[in-house]
């Protein structure tokens, strides 16, 4: 026991008459004793720590380098495996508005309905760089099996003091500077009867299973869409497509609300504002490239 704590040690003889005052004294004495003992122990420990800090020089040693190099090599190897479609990754974005561009979307079993986004708070849905907390109306589009010819995602973040920075993710075929909205971009090969991707575009396609996209603006050129059912009750579309939508009660499809289902949904020159790109399955990203570049970027910077 430290000297300070000992000050509060019991000195009165045992057998004292019980009374409020003596009980109070015992309790507070015990409390003070414990408190001072703790303080003194902490002080002692920090003295020890200081002595230890002075005794020898410590730090990260050179043997961290081989481990770091191993880790870097493993990371590069994984990045390569993802680029060559050998490793599937989990990719889920939630709190930033993405701009998505793709030359061609070939979706088998797509289902969509209207829902609010998963975030709550202030609403500023039209801002270019989204308010992180905004809760906006979006279409929730689920795709059972999606193949994308070329992908370019741009997220712009306003970093305080530094300014705008854009994160650009490109994969698959090159994305051209713009889409004309009425034809399939050149270089994308599709089957003339079904509209599915074929040949070179299929080999280099990004393929994703159970892909969910919530976006407030999607545009493109619909090419040979088949088995389309517009106005299907929203709570049944997930079942038709073999998907299970998830979210809070607000976001789940409501019975009788507008829903759409398409057995085969092909969109050329897809261009969208997306709040979230969620994957329940896996995605393969050939020719993956991630860049962080200053300034707000657009589709023209994709290739």
């Amino acid at each position: 026991m430290s000297p300070r704590a000992r000050r509060f040690e019991r000195t009165a003889p045992w057998g004292e008459k019980p009374g409020v005052r003596s009980v109070w004294g015992r309790l507070t004495g015990r409390l003070y004793r414990a408190a001072y003992a703790a303080i003194d122990r902490a002080a002692e420990q920090s003295e020890q720590m200081k002595a230890e800090a002075e005794s020898v020089r410590r730090g990260s040693r050179k043997r961290s380098l081989p481990l770091m190099i191993c880790g870097g090599a493993a990371l590069v190897a994984m990045f390569g495996a993802v680029s060559q479609s050998a490793l599937a990754v989990n990719f889920t974005t939630g709190n930033s508005k993405f701009k998505l561009y793709s030359n061609y979307l070939d979706a088998e079993h797509a289902a969509g309905y209207l829902a609010p986004t998963s975030r709550q708070g202030a609403t500023d849905c039209d801002a270019d760089t989204a308010d992180v907390q905004a809760q906006c109306g979006v279409t929730e589009l689920g795709i059972h099996q999606a193949k994308l010819a070329g992908l370019c995602g741009i997220a712009t973040e306003n970093i305080p003091l530094v300014g705008n920075y854009s994160l650009m993710i490109t994969a698959g075929d090159d994305v051209p500077d713009s889409y004309n909205g009425s034809s399939i971009p050149t270089g994308t090969t599709t089957d003339p009867s079904t509209g599915k991707l074929t040949d070179g575009s299929l080999d280099n396609a990004i393929s994703a299973t159970n892909l969910y996209l919530n976006s407030d603006a999607l545009s493109g050129y619909g090419n040979k869409i088949s088995g389309m059912n517009l106005g299907q009750s929203a709570e049944t579309v997930g079942e038709s497509a073999g998907l299970a939508f998830e979210g809070n009660a607000n976001q789940l499809p409501k019975a009788g609300a507008f829903g759409l289902y398409a057995r085969q949904l092909n969109v050329a020159g897809l261009n969208g504002n997306s709040y979230g790109l969620n994957l329940k399955g896996n995605i393969t990203l050939p020719d993956l490239n991630i860049r962080v570049v200053p300034g707000a970027r657009t589709q023209a910077d994709c290739s």
Binding site: E52, R57, R61, F79, T92
Partner: protein, 158 residues
């Protein structure tokens, strides 16, 4: 009788009203406290792998930042929603463990290193590579932390 005749009576309070020395003393006390806090923090830093653990925590926070969802969705939405919290959260946890229990540094360094690697395929490419790289650097710094040769006083090695 002869001195201080010229000063008005109200000036003579028997003590100085000049606030300067007291202010200096007070500043000095704050300064002394700050200096003590700084030296304590320096000792704390030097007795544990501080910087490596800091990188690990930054890596975890970065991964969570890019995969943060409503906690309800993260709990019910399955692995694709919770992966960021799990991987980033464990990086932060191992960073804190390294700070609070530096004895376990070789274990927590290696585990942090492996989680940072594992975050690449599971959590948005490890927070767009940045989180994984920071985690790998932090983990290996923690693992390799230990006694070094005393610093030589001059370039000649005296």
């Amino acid at each position: 009788m002869t001195e201080s005749k010229t000063e008005p009576l109200t000036y003579d309070l028997g003590f100085s009203t000049d606030p300067a020395p007291e202010r200096a003393r007070r500043t000095n006390r704050v300064g002394a406290f700050l200096a003590e806090a700084r030296s304590w923090f320096r000792a704390w830093r030097r007795t544990r792998p501080f910087w490596g653990a800091l990188w690990l925590i930054v890596a975890g926070a970065w991964i969570i930042y890019w995969m943060s969802f409503d906690i309800g969705i993260a709990l019910t939405g399955g692995w694709s929603y919770s992966a960021g919290y799990v991987m980033g959260g464990s990086l932060i946890m191992f960073g804190l463990v390294t700070w609070l229990a530096p004895h376990y540094r070789s274990l927590s360094g290696i585990v942090g290193f492996l989680i940072a690697l594992g975050a690449f395929p599971t959590a948005n490419l490890g927070g767009f590579v940045v989180g994984s790289v920071l985690g790998i650097i932090g983990g290996s710094m923690i693992w390799s932390w230990g006694e070094k040769k005393p610093r030589t006083s001059g370039p000649a090695g005296g």
